[in-house]
Amino acid sequence: MYEVFFQKFNEKVKLTPTEELHIQQYLTPKKLRKRQYLHQEGDICKHIALVEKGALRSYVVDENGQEHITAFALEGWTISDLSSFMHEQVSSQNIDALEDCELVLISRTSHEELLTTMPKYETYVRILVTDAYVALQKRMLGMISMSPENRYKSFIELYPNIVQRVAQHMIASFMGLSPETISRIRSRINNPKP
């Protein structure tokens, strides 16, 4: 139920069995079925979710009703609307399950209590947020400086699991490209000119 959570935690900050049990008290195990929402826009995002099993996405819907995927999360990844979660502000994002999921949720109260009582949790969160910031920066740099083809190539190199498990139109949405553009890029990659 918490295997992946603690595996990921221990990769960043080593915990003793007693410390694991202490943290476990604050965690909420939650199953989600495919297409069910973990969080919907208009609500304050109540949790940070770590994926034990399954896949989720977060997305916004623009004024024309068009969905734009902001993140994916597979096993071992976390997903949330961090700004809404941290500042208790109404969120414009949605998070739903792309597959049946098993999650570990951390509520804001649990998060705050762990931050103040457990320095190792604070270290873990710092590393997590730094990694997420770096990933976001790379994504932004890619958006403004790389060709769509190179962005796609770097995406499939970095996240081969997402390419296998997520529909192509969702990857297109995440990359800010049209599904047709992604199709053209894929066929160019698969059939390179001699």
């Binding site: 965690l27 929402y37 919907q40 826009e41 649990s110």
Partner: protein, 220 residues
Amino acid sequence: MNTKQTIAIIGATGSMGTAISKSLAKGNYRLLLFSSKTEQLQALASQIQTLHPSADVIVSQCPTDASWEADIIILAVPYQAQQELAGKIKQVANQKIVISIANPLNETYDGLVTAPDTSAAEQLQLLLPHSKIVKAFSTVFAADFAQPVISQKQADAFIAGDDQEALEVVEQLVSIAGFNPIVAGGLQVSRTLESMTLLLIQLNIRYDYNWLAGWKILHH
């Protein structure tokens, strides 16, 4: 709240479980019903679907799985079954709201089986130390759900618990069910609430209220 909350109702085919399930089907909730009486459970789910075609009702095969999937768990089982069920859901109910509806009555309905310095809800909290136990739906009868307004007065439904956020969530559930929610205090107040129900049951038997009776606090 836009995000649909999932509520597991454990013991859904009992008279209280059935009444709670039917009344909450009116709200924006996803209901996961569990009971060991599988045929009755299926019939209840179909009945709810007929009454509320847009209701999101699913029958569950296992109390542990239902509670794992749930955001809120309602233990609609007699006090005597509480300990065994708590054992089954303990791991998956961590940090979740668990509603205790049980009144620990003795077999002759003239006393409580719990000691005066505790209550069914406090016992449940000891069994599920990391869950947010809330006492609710314990001071109303099953028949009240179909008719929460008695003699032109909306019945009060008392709530007790130690977690403020959980109390607010449960207040909403009680309102959806048609009652006037009153937060009575911390979980320890469950002792008083469970005794109030004992009295209501005794009065019902003595004066033949036909199990349609409830509490109403008169105030200015």
